[in-house]
Amino acid sequence: MIDTWRTRLYRFFRRVWTRPRIDLPLAFALVVLCGVGLATLYSAGEGNIALVGGQAARFMLGGVFILLMSRIPPSALRNWTPWLYVGSTVLLVVVAVLGEGRGADRWLNLGIMRFQPSELMKLTMPMMVAWYLHPRQLPPRWKDIVVVGALIAIPAGLIAKQPDLGTALLVTAAGAFALFLSGMAWWRIGMLLAAAGGMVPIAWHFMHQYQRDRILTMLNPESDPLGNGWHIIQSQIAVGSGGVFGKGFEQGTQSRLDFLPEHTTDFIFAVFSEEFGLIGVCAILVLYAFIIGRCLWIAMEARDTYSRLLAGAIGMSFFVYVFVNGGMVAGLLPVVGVPMPMVSYGGTSAVSLLVGFGVLMSIHANRKVHD
């Protein structure tokens, strides 16, 4: 206790700066992905420099977070986990009670900036599940599975009620992946999936009308030619007309002539597919697969259960983003608000994803430390 907090903080930042403990292959893949994202945004936003600059600034901020998070050892994260989880859940309740937002009450106004607690939950959820399973005997039995199920259901329910189905899906998936990676028996997984299938009619009953409409519209886009059906039809035309080789950078007509709505945010991948074709799609999916694979590799290298489960769950939930957004753009899945990671324009989700990668960097750096 000789050091003041000031000198400790100074030492912390100096260490971050002089010896960043990052995994180079993962960092390199992320830089490439961000570059592709900015280029696509430049084209989709019709050369709007302010749009690209804003996104680049967020990537910078995310990079700083990666460096900072990489210095926080997983054991410290594990100690904070229950508090982070309780804190985020309380924030979700606060938002539910007095939140404000456009259409959906998911923002909390902090005076200087608006903040979305559900974004925080994307990271705290796998942390909490990993924290819970860490000291227990694995593979988990029904009792632990039920507890984990409750840990997932409470925040996911609060988020789904906002209503933000996309984020609720991502949060649920992150928790579920941690459970999957903990070695939950296949027959138990099969039973749970069967039960979930049986819940579909009940879930349908509790959905908002607009959510039902989205699913019905996906099945028959022509039924809603003005609203979501229009999005789906125009998005598929964009993708399909791209062909194998694409129309070329800045040559996509669908977004340029305003046929494609939301073409810088949720539907930006349609612009990408139109301009770079199937080859571009395959290339970027390989890049995504590499990132996910590298995350799982880092997870396998880790020594303790908490780090393993957390790293694996973060990597696997990255896949959910790609699959849900790519499937939505291609008319395979209903329209839900899930962005294409690092490509869609949007503030908090890019930053929170990069914070997650910062946690991975820390797990990578501490792979030799035995707990």
């Binding site: 399909g240 007309s241 007509t253 305003d258 896949f319 291609a330």
Partner: protein, 674 residues
């Protein structure tokens, strides 16, 4: 098991995780392959089809907002109309420099600060690809000047639309309400598909409460556009379904007469048909011009309305809750009879002051020295406080609040208009909830509740509703302003309004006794009768039953009240009420009038009620039923009814059909004789 669990098999877990991670990755690769499969399906197998659609993709859908339903009075007088107009719209993403563009545009089409403020606010809240209205209701001059300069302003367009117009202006401002521009806060609560292209939404009155019916369903057209997005050709049109038209039960002629009867003095009046709950007139004075709000009210106009001491924007009929004073006495009398506490012949001695046994505080009568021995009839006729003080004590507050509550006091009447207040029905529960410092109930509070003072507060619609319920022999109907709706081009369909329950009255003899007492208020010859100097029934062919009410706004703190009994002083201290229904034997209209600053109920509010009844009579054909000869002064009656029929006819923009043919009137007169 506990013992085993403590020692985790760390090495085994690591191996298990490795297997799981590989399985997970395999599943992910499978998922990505499925995704690639879909892209191959779209980009390779169906590439030709989509490429063709992309090249031919010059067709855009455009929402066509539905025409808003029109609003008519009961005879088809138009109250809310749609008139064609033009507005300027801006597509933000096609404007390079917004400030420069607005500056240049301002030199072609005059843009005032209100337009610019509203535009900038909406600009922040909308997508860059959505058109934002800049200036509504362009003049022909504006359109011509812009057309010449249009090439200088890419992304700016003149767009035709339908705007709302209220031909009768202030007369129906509080009932019909108004529409105004949709803003981002509204959008958050609306179905975006249903409101695509719609610029206005009902903001108050019926425009708000019937928004769902009035709005309609949007249609769309498929437009062929060129590379700039300008429409070349309309390929296909799916017309919108217009909103439903509304028919009010209000008669514009009665409404007009009621409004004029106030002569600008703040107050409210509501007339209801006791047979079905239909509102025949509802006025709140002063009024305002609803047309100001439709295309955005200017700051100056809005400030003037907001700061006006008479608060013209408030619908006093629904939101003005005042102490009801003596207007509750008929209901108190009825409660005494129905609970078996009194018979109509039971008497009470009025000495001028009433004391609760064992207490020294006195409760005053209106006449110093009292009026002597009175039964129920004279108690109502002369509005004798002592009779009702004692009755209230004998009934007790619980029975009073239960009985009054059943007539709708203390809760919204349920009229189909937004923003109604509950008023206050004195009860132990109410006091316990609202007066935490002194939650218990005192007998003195029961005593003054018996004459409509104390905690009481009542709105005009509540009193009209209660009176109509009584007049309709106790059958409660929720008040309704809208009588029927109609799809465009179809016949109107009446809206069902079944009674809310069976008759509240146990014995029709009780009803008759109170009714007789209320007729004495109008026709009584007693020197103390409240209505004796006013002669409210003169020249009216049907029997009227009524009751005045004069409520004090402040408690009497000095003797000034007894010394300055001049009208101006009293008017500043009193609220004047009058309630009346007619024909007394088979009531067809019940009216409640409140005057915010009136000296005496009968003298100041009474004539307003009478004028409303006169106007109603004129709409019934003005026929005199043969079995009810005019009481006196037949000469006065003719000009009175002549003026009331002439006035509404003057203000009506078009010839209005008579609601009832003369034949039906004589048949209803026949009913009276039965």
């Amino acid at each position: 098991m506990k013992h085993l669990r403590r020692f985790k098999d760390t090495r085994g877990e690591g191996e298990m995780f490795r297997r799981r991670a590989l399985a997970g990755f395999a599943l992910i690769l499978l998922g990505l392959c499925a995704l690639v499969g879909r892209y191959v399906f779209l980009q390779v197998l169906h590439h030709d089809e989509f490429a063709l659609r992309s090249v031919n993709n010059s067709v855009k859908p455009r929402a066509i907002p539905p025409a808003r339903g029109l609003i008519y009075d009961r005879n088809g007088v138009l109250l809310a109309d749609n008139v064609p107009a033009f507005r300027l719209e801006v597509r933000p993403d096609q404007v390079q420099n917004m400030n420069e563009m607005l500056f240049q545009l301002g030199r072609v089409v005059p843009l005032d600060q209100d337009d610019l403020d509203a535009f900038r606010k909406q600009l922040k809240q909308s997508h860059r690809f959505d058109s934002v209205p800049l200036k509504m209701r362009l003049t022909e001059d504006d359109i011509a000047r812009f057309a010449v300069n249009r090439w200088r302003f890419p992304g700016v367009d003149v767009v035709p639309y339908l705007t709302r117009y209220y031909p009768l202006g202030p007369l129906f401002a509080h009932v019909v309400g108004y529409v105004s521009r949709i803003d981002a806060d509204d959008m958050a609560n609306l179905d975006p598909d249903r409101y695509k292209g719609t610029t206005h939404i009902g903001r108050s009155g019926l425009e708000r409460s019937y928004e769902d019916m009035l709005h309609g369903t949007p249609g769309y057209e498929l437009d062929e556009v060129n590379a700039d997005g300008r429409i070349q050709q309309v390929l296909e049109t799916h017309p919108p379904i217009p909103g439903k038209n509304l028919y009010l039960s209000i008669d514009a002629r009665i409404q007009k007469a009621a409004e004029e009867a106030f002569e600008g003095r703040p107050g409210a009046a509501v007339a209801i048909d006791p047979r079905n709950g239909q509102v025949l007139a509802m006025v709140s004075v002063p009024e305002f011009d609803p047309n100001l709000f439709v295309n955005g009210i200017s700051q100056a106009d809005y400030k003037a309305l907001i700061t006006s001491p008479d608060k013209p924007l408030i619908n006093r009929a629904l939101k003005g809750a005042y102490p009801p004073g003596s207007t509750v006495k008929p209901f108190m009398g009825l409660a005494g009879l129905e609970y078996g506490v009194r018979t109509p012949q039971d008497t009470v001695l009025s000495t001028g002051v009433f004391y609760i046994p064992g207490q020294s505080r006195g409760y005053r009568d209106d006449q110093r020295g009292g009026v002597g021995t009175v039964n129920l009839y004279r108690a109502i006729e002369d509005s004798v406080n002592t009779y009702f003080y004692k009755l209230a004590l004998d009934l007790g507050i619980d029975r009073i609040s239960a009985f009054m509550g059943s007539y709708g006091f203390g809760r919204p009447s349920g009229v189909d208009l937004p923003g109604e207040v509950s008023g206050i029905l004195p009860s132990r529960e109410w006091k316990a909830k609202h007066s935490p410092k002194q939650p218990s109930w005192y007998p003195g509070e029961t005593v003054i509740a018996g004459i409509g003072q104390g905690y009481w507060s009542v709105t005009a619609i509540q009193l009209a509703h209660a009176l109509a319920t009584f007049a309709g022999r106790g059958v409660p109907y929720a008040p309704r302003v809208v009588m029927a709706t109609a799809d465009v081009g179809k016949r109107s369909v009446p809206l069902a309004n079944p009674p809310a329950g069976p008759s509240l009255i146990k014995d029709m003899k009780d009803w008759q006794a109170v009714n007789d007492g209320m007729q004495l208020v109008i026709y009584g010859t007693d020197p103390f009768s409240t209505g004796s100097g006013v002669k409210l029934g003169d020249g009216f062919p049907y029997r009227i039953a009524g009751k005045s009410g004069t409520a004090e706004r402040f408690s009497r703190t000095s003797d000034a009240y007894n010394e300055n009994r001049n009208t101006a002083y009293l008017a500043a201290r009193h609220r004047a009420w009058f309630e009346a229904f007619t024909p007394a034997e088979d009531p067809r209209i019940a009216v409640a009038v409140v005057l915010e600053a009136g000296a005496w109920g009968a003298k100041d509010a009474g004539p307003i009620a009478r004028k409303i009844l006169d106007a109603w009579l004129a709409t019934q054909g003005g026929a005199v039923p043969p079995n009810h000869p005019l009481p006196e002064s037949e000469a006065d009656a003719a000009p009175a009814s002549a003026t009331t029929t002439a006035t509404p006819a003057d203000v009506m923009p078009e010839d209005t059909p008579q609601s009832d043919p003369p034949a039906s009137d004589s048949s209803s007169a026949g009913d009276d004789s039965q």
